[in-house]
């Protein structure tokens, strides 16, 4: 893994979870370093969700999951970035979010997904909770290399 300081982009030797390539439209990449970045992401996700006419409940679920995972990227991953994608597989439309950091990785993903499990003094709801809020959830975490988390919400 290399850290491209020019663009601040995290680059891995093999891509982490960067599939759904053919379905993607309008990728936006945002840095995740500060509290304000989380608020900025929430706003962008909300706008994209409104644009594809997700229901209000689904909008709220997606924005909340994005907020939890963005915070994790900053707090546990030491910062990173998020790719925000429009998805269209010709059957349905959706929104995909790919969070990438170059942190220490998650040693035990099953434990991390369990409610109440935390190493950071929080409630331990963010990771497992956000999985419940979206339609697709995938994690690729590599020790000392980084973590990628992909979430997708499809329009019903």
């Amino acid at each position: 893994m290399t850290f491209d300081t020019r663009s601040n982009a995290v680059q891995f030797e093999t891509p982490l979870l960067d599939y759904h390539l053919a379905w993607r439209t309008g990728r936006v990449t945002l840095p995740l370093r500060t509290d304000e970045d989380v608020v900025g992401l929430r706003k962008q996700v909300r706008e994209r969700a409104v644009a594809i006419a997700l229901s209000l409940v689904d909008q709220t679920k997606l924005v909340t999951a994005a907020s939890e995972l963005a915070r994790n990227t900053i707090k546990y991953g030491g910062g990173g970035e998020v790719h925000l994608d429009g998805l269209d597989d010709s059957m349905r439309r959706g929104i995909g979010l790919l969070f990438v950091d170059a942190g220490q990785g998650i040693p035990d993903i099953d434990s991390a997904l369990r409610d109440g499990f935390t190493t950071g003094g929080g409630l331990g709801l963010g990771f497992g909770g956000s999985k419940r809020l979206v339609d697709e959830f995938d994690v690729d975490s590599r020790p000392k290399e980084g973590t990628a988390v992909l979430i997708i919400k499809w329009k019903r």
């Binding site: 509290d35 409630l123 419940r132």
Partner: protein, 118 residues
Amino acid sequence: MERIPILRMGDLLLVTIQVDMHDRLAMQLQDDLTARIVSDNAKGVLIDISALDLVDSFIGRMISNTAAMARVLDARTVVVGMQPAVAITLVELGLTLHGVKTALNVEKGMALLGKNFQ
């Protein structure tokens, strides 16, 4: 520094959260409210979240903690105006705001705090 205003009305403190709070701002509000309960000798705290379109685990924890701190300081807290989509998301996330009193609107929240302004 950015702060969420706290209004005093008799022995109540009123807060209306109208911005999308980042984490530091949420922590600042928790600290400010706790300090004001003591300095203003407040008996009740009413937090209006009707303008919030998101309550994630951090904001939820801030609300729970504030209510717990207020209780220890002999004040009661009522959270009012939660949007239905926020309530659905919060419960699915696994957050039940245990120990926090809620009401549908400010008027009902006031009544819960023993105040009637009609």
